[in-house]
Symmetry: C2
Subunit: 434 residues, 2 copies
């Protein structure tokens, strides 16, 4: 028999506390090993070494372009993923419990402008209880959560009834080739938790995202007779106003309670503008690229139709645009929105675990960004939530960092949620870990 919920939580918290130095050491080693998307090999070798030392059954493979090809719009399809393996460590269940995937992606975005960092971007410095560095919260902290949740269960003298599948996948930042490959190769479980930095909110729904490119034509003329031309910058202003109104209208229609605390539920961001070649010519071209957010219930194809219709309606308000309608293209890395049933038992397992650790339940809410959840839930048909330490607002920014206290709390929560989901028993034999 295992302890009651309160006692179990206390045991796990104590186990996590005891593991904190090793967990910080693991996270620091990961942060110090660069793994920008496309270059994950060295960091995966670190992960594999730790997984092996934990005695996990290792599965490691490079995704193949062939298996991903039917999903070319969803992930960044490359001719090869050589040197970029997924690494998975499996703890086989002692009984017949439900299986659980704990997923984290190993790739990070680029360091960016080093001048804006006050700490070494790949240094892993620990100051004031925070570990600094690119990937600290997005999401090497998630990898550390997943491995040490298992180690904490063991340290608390427990073993799981169902399989625990700890995945370190590649290429999330450009679409999720790694996670998708895992799903396609049959790494399915009864549920999945992705330990993305949700500030320890339970996230059963995530927004989708489509990257668009809008092209607006003008008519060139010398600046001195500019009224004989048509400025693509001025016509863009018409389009931009229309898109802002479109975003506002879309927001007004969303009543999902998971989105209640999010002011802009479907952000439509214009991220880049390029227009014109000469200061002294009327600009005859403009290219805008951006990202449109979608909510669960919408489909990528449906939104594309809606967006095109909106652009056409905007064009009709302007004689020039009516005759020269803006063109739209869709760029790579398309993220379908995804949401699971908000009262799914998986949600309750994590909520209850969090409440046992913290004394109060966590927020349950949607996020407006896309991540690998769609591959698990939509393609893999697995219930999936995101739950993890760290703040996504720090994720791609200078001085990215993660609170080690929050990491410990998330680790304990995930351990307890796994025990709840998979079932757990007091271990009777010494573990085979080396």
């Amino acid at each position: 028999m295992i302890a009651g919920s309160g006692e179990l939580a206390a045991q796990i918290v104590a186990a996590v506390e005891g593991l904190r130095p090793r967990q910080a050491s693991f996270l620091r080693e990961l942060v110090r090993t660069p793994s920008q998307t496309g270059d994950e090999g060295a960091a995966q070798a670190v992960v594999e070494r730790w997984f092996r030392e934990a005695g996990l059954e290792i599965q490691s493979w490079e995704p193949s372009p062939e298996e991903l090809r039917p999903f070319a719009e969803s992930v960044t399809l490359l001719p090869t993923y050589a040197g970029r393996p997924n690494v998975v460590g499996i703890e086989r269940g002692a009984g017949e419990g439900r299986s659980l995937v704990l997923n984290a992606h190993i790739d990070t975005v680029e360091v960016g402008d080093r001048e804006r960092w006050t700490r070494e971007p790949l240094g892993g410095a620990i100051e004031g209880g925070q570990l600094y560095g690119r990937g600290a919260c997005d999401m090497k902290g998630g990898t550390a959560t997943n491995l040490f949740a298992l180690l904490a269960l063991r340290a608390a003298g427990l073993e799981l009834e169902g399989d625990l599948i700890i995945q370190s996948t590649i290429s999330e930042e450009d679409g999720g080739a790694g996670a998708l490959s895992a799903v396609l190769r049959g790494q399915r479980a009864d549920a999945a938790i992705i330990t993305e930095p949700t500030r320890r909110a339970v996230v059963p729904a995530q927004g989708g995202a489509l990257m668009f490119r809008i092209t607006v034509d003008g008519l060139s003329a010398h600046a001195c007779v500019r009224d004989e031309g048509v400025s693509a910058v001025e016509k863009w202003a018409v389009v931009h106003r229309g898109l802002a109104a479109f975003e506002a209208r879309r927001n007004a229609t969303i009543e999902d309670p998971l989105y209640a605390s999010i002011a802009n539920k479907v952000p439509l961001n214009v991220g880049t503008l390029r227009s014109g070649s000469w200061a002294s010519s009327v600009p005859e071209w403009l290219v805008a690229e951006g990202r449109a957010g979608l909510v669960p219930g919408e489909t990528l194809e449906g939104f594309k139709r809606e967006f095109r219709a909106e652009l056409a309606a905007i064009a009709e308000t302007d004689p020039w645009l009516c005759d020269h309608p803006p063109a739209v293209e869709w760029l790579g890395g398309q993220f379908a929105p995804v949401g699971i049933d908000a009262v799914h038992p998986l949600v309750h397992s994590v909520v209850a675990a969090h409440a046992s650790i913290d004394g109060a339940p966590p927020p349950v809410e949607a996020v407006t960004y896309g991540a690998d959840m769609r591959h698990f839930a939509l393609t893999g048909g697995m219930p999936c939530v995101m739950y993890g330490a760290g703040d996504v607002r720090l994720a791609h920014a200078p001085d990215e960092h993660l609170s080690l206290d929050e990491l410990a709390a998330a680790t304990a929560t995930v351990a307890l949620a796994a025990a709840n989901w998979c079932g757990a028993r007091v271990r009777t034999t010494e573990h085979r870990s080396r």
Copy 2:
């Protein structure tokens, strides 16, 4: 005694008619010799050969950076102008008449997108009475006008009382280093005519131009939480609206009759926009470059103050811009506006000559573009008008071309205007032309 005005005009028109094949041959050779700004040497060699064959006294020199340095904001100051000489041919006056500069610049803008040309850009093809090619109207046609105006006077049996100084100068398209150097080296006369393509309007006033760069700051954030950032593209919209209102207000204040036919007298053109680095980030920077038009009576420094004040006033309408005011810089090639007395005798000489050739006076009007006129009038203190064949709207465009009929008419007008301005007498000796 020379013939009366009507008879003289007829003689000159006849002389120009007889010279048309040679004039077309000269223009075609010039068009076929590339002379994009910076690479004028080969075309100037052609000009010098024709000037020598016409028996003109040759002056040729490369502008020196030292002489131009005090005007560094007005022209494009380079470390050297080696291989880029001005070429001047002088016909000394037979008497004590007023001297006259006939100026044309030899440099052209780039060919641009060859795909958009239906004729060979440097081919000089003649079709339907039009000579096609880069520089045909802007302004190798002006060089042909100037030389053949003199040759027509000679062919009509006339010689001028005052000196005629025919200049082929470099580097007009990037500010006018060549014309300025001529002025600074004392090539001053009692008047100057620049045979820019004015569609044979007499232009005693030209707009100035300042090239500006505006930088707008935003605050980056991930697109999924875009409201936590500040979009430089959205803040630009505020600035852009303000600039459009500024242009409208400026236009409303101008009552100069020379501008009566020009709807936009002070065009404020935004020519290029660059903003943002990622589709999925809120853009934190935007750079706009453009050209502001000025009218005679305004000074560059005065307008700069006005523009800065306007930007500051626009910023005050927006809390973010108020705290993060847009910055403005001024780019090279600053063109001061310039206008001479609209009833100056030089204006009347050209108007009368045109009327004698055409039977009706030409339009007398301002133009909104800047050219070398400011160097002659402001720095050189010389009365100066522009008058020439061709349409500036074709000047920098694909399929630039010039009507050979219009070229002949302009040539006859300039010849007659020179005779009027400098005085002319029937030649008594054979000319020394080789």
